[in-house]
Structure formats: C-alpha cells, structure tokens
C-alpha cells in the first residue's frame, strides 16, 4: 500500500526539530525510515506531520576520545559496520552489525531510529545495554541522559517523552572482550532470540566483570544478573560458561509468536548466551553442548 497523506518538514537544527515536535502533537520523527516507512505504507501509523531529521548535520557526528565513543543518533548501520574506529572502540557494535537486516537497509537505517523504535528483537538496544551506553536526549525541558537499561521500557516503548528527540548515544570505550550470537529464521530477519555479552578479564585471567544481555526473550532486552554474578571472580572454562548460560535462562518468560514458541525461545536462549560467551573468551570448545 501507499503511505497516508501527511505534511513534511525537514529542519536543519535540533532546535527547529524540537519546535516542530512541540507544535504538532502527533508528529513523528523520520530518521532512516526503515521501520517508520513500512508502518506508514501498511497504514499502521498515520501521523499528520513527519519531521525529517536527516538534514540535521550534528546528528550524524561521530566522536571518539580515549574513554568515550559518541555516536550521533543519525549514524547509519552501514557506517557502524564499516568504520574500524567505531568497532575498535566498542567491538560489540561491529559484531552485531552484520546481523541487522540487509545491505540496502543498513545504508539507510540509523542507530537512533532503531533505539527509539524499540523492537524487543532488535540488535542495537541489546548492544547498548551490554555495552553500558547512555542515551543523550534533547527536549523542551532541556537535555537529559538516560542509561540504556532505563531507556528500553517495553515493546515499542522507550523513556522518550512527547516532544523529545534521541540525539546521541555515548559508549564507554570497551576495556574487555565481547561476544554476540542470535538465531533468526533467515539471515537478516529480526532475531527469535539473541545474546550480547561483554567480559572483562583481570590480570589473573579471571572474569573481573561481565554483562550478559538477552534480546527477543522478553518485551525488552534484559540483563541476566545471576549469570553475570556466576562469572565474576571465576577462571573462564567450558563448564563455567554452561553454568552461566543456564542461569541466564532461569525464570525467562519469553513471548510466543508466528516466528517461534516461548518453549523454543527458552530452549535456545542459553545456547545463544553460551556461544556469545565462548566467542568473547576465545573458547571454541565451549560453543558445543556438553
């Protein structure tokens, strides 16, 4: 189908975009359009005004300091997947990117758009949670910062308030290792279940810190703290990874839908965690089942 009629504006500054959002209550922000355009074409969304932020240059900026990577909300998937400095600073970004849809979607889709859309099976929200990212939000009440865990609130639901715009995502430069695994019906589809992990090893070779995140397993990406706790202070090995993976799946209440049953997701979730941890820790034998 075709998109319903709407009025269109393309501001060139964040201030102009915020003024447009304030003036038009049901306005929608158009970033890469790879989720919003299908929703318009399928008539699932019918905003009276589209605010196209693609002309706001500062939203496409990337900056890197020794401690922080800052990605403007409009940075496209393709750039994240091909800019060696980005993946060098936060390896999880580079690992997850090839799993996102297909080339022509990655040319247009943006990290801020994916985060604001908040599909529970999307890669970026999970990566941001595992990489300890902070969302930089601009709005009528001024700028505010929201950690990834407080940003994703449910299916297509975020902490963004009416009139607000996600402007950038700040990542601490990774000090440890990262792993990413997901299972989808076809490569490029949204994941049925996936895992994003980060692990820091201490000088003694033991896990000093770990973050274990599942996505597609709940209404939002979720940290699995029992698994993280199990890894902390331990020397990595296949048995430890299997135990941590089992803990990650405990108490899961995943959705059932056309793509996979809840039972299947519960069964596959610990496998994804095990594989992601095995890759992060370079323990290929731990990828295999016991």
């Amino acid at each position: 189908m075709k998109a319903p009629p709407f009025a269109y504006a393309a501001p060139s500054t964040i201030a102009e975009a915020l003024a447009l959002l304030a003036a038009h209550e049901d306005a929608k922000v158009l970033a890469g359009g790879q989720s919003l355009m299908p929703a318009l074409n399928l008539r699932l969304a019918a905003p009276s005004v589209l605010v196209d932020i693609n002309g706001i240059a500062e939203l496409s900026e990337v900056s890197l300091t020794p401690t922080e990577l800052r990605l403007g909300a409009l940075v496209r998937h393709k750039r994240i997947g091909t800019d060696a400095a980005i993946a060098g600073a936060v390896p999880l970004l580079g690992l997850a990117c090839p799993h996102i849809a297909h080339g022509p979607i990655r040319s247009r889709g943006t990290i801020g758009g994916s985060l604001s859309h908040a599909d529970p099976a999307a890669e970026w929200p999970a990566v941001c949670l595992a990489a300890d990212a902070v969302m930089e939000i601009r709005g009528p009440a001024g700028p505010r910062h929201v950690p990834a865990e407080a940003f994703s609130l449910g299916v297509f639901t975020t902490a963004l308030r009416p009139g607000e715009l996600l402007a950038a995502i700040r990542f601490p430069v990774a000090r440890g290792r990262a792993g990413f695994a997901e299972v989808a019906r076809r490569h490029g589809d949204f994941a049925m279940v996936g895992a994003a992990v980060t692990v820091e090893l201490g000088p003694d070779g033991r896990c000093a810190d770990a973050r274990v995140v599942l996505f597609g397993a709940s209404d939002r990406p979720i940290r699995r703290r029992a698994a993280e706790e199990r890894l902390r202070g331990q020397a990595p090995g296949a048995a430890l990874l299997r135990e941590a993976a089992s803990l990650a799946a405990e108490g899961l209440d995943p959705p059932s839908d056309l793509h996979a049953s809840a039972e299947y997701r519960r069964r596959v979730a610990p496998v994804m965690v095990r594989r992601a941890l095995a890759d992060a820790l370079s323990l290929p034998e731990a990828r295999l089942a016991a």
């Binding site: 075709k2 269109y8 355009m37 299908p38 074409n41 589209l50 196209d52 040319s107 247009r108 490569h187």
Partner: protein, 160 residues
Amino acid sequence: MSPAETLTVALTVNGEAVTRDIPARLSLADFLREELRLTGTHLGCEHGVCGACTVLLDGEPVRGCLMLAVQARGRAVTTVEGLAATDGTLTPLQAAFQKHHALQCGFCTPGMLMTATALLAETPHPTADEVRDAISGNICRCTGYVQIVEAVLDAAGTAP
C-alpha cells in the same frame, strides 16, 4: 518552517536533472515509476522485504519504497534504466545475467542488478559467499539464485 503536503524536489536521475512538485507522501519508487515513467524499478512488497525496488542513492543501494521522494532532494539516483550505455550496450553485469540465464520472470531483476552493481563497486572481486550475502535482501521467486550468483561472479571475473 511550516510542514507542507506538497513540495518541490530537484534531483539527478540517471545523470539528468529533474524538478517536480510532488506530494510529501510519495515514495521514491512511485516517483520514479509514476512521475518519471521509469518503470524498470519494480514494486513488490512495499515494506522493504522483497528488494525489487532497490535503486542507488549517491551510489549506495537503498529501498525505493522505504524512502520519500522529497528525501532525495539534491541527491543522485540511479535506476536500472541508467545502467546500460545510451547506445544500448549492456554493462558487464547485465551481459553476464543474460549469458547465465540469471532471470526467469524478470520481476526481481532490476533490484538484483542494482544490488550487485553496488556490491561490485565496493568489492570488485567478491567471493560466492559475499555475493550471496549481498543479494540476501533480494527475493527471487523463480528460485534463480544459483545462476544469479554465477552471473555476478562472472561479471567480476571470479570463477564460481
């Protein structure tokens, strides 16, 4: 700045400057087909899944159905009509599609050609796996993928 339902767009399509007044909701694919009568760009699903409407935007492959025509202001768009030379000489990729019978009904072909054109521009000598990955977002329902992969590899001078 106030939002408008009709806007003037000026862009370059297949090397020619084009200016039109169009509704904001018009997709780039519909603009090409209906305003410019460039019907080589096909529309299958209209929600980004089938890849038939893939065109090049400043050389990068994009979905024509997932972009508004107004968003192409000031940009250069290349469609399947823009591949062959003006005298009709096919590009090596198009010739390879013909040679390898890389199409049956032809519906997916424009999207396949544009996606593969972009691949070869970035990766002149791809492996078979890279070709398969590149066209993974283009659906062919005549199940012609094997010949399509062979054609792309042949055009790149890589043995299948």
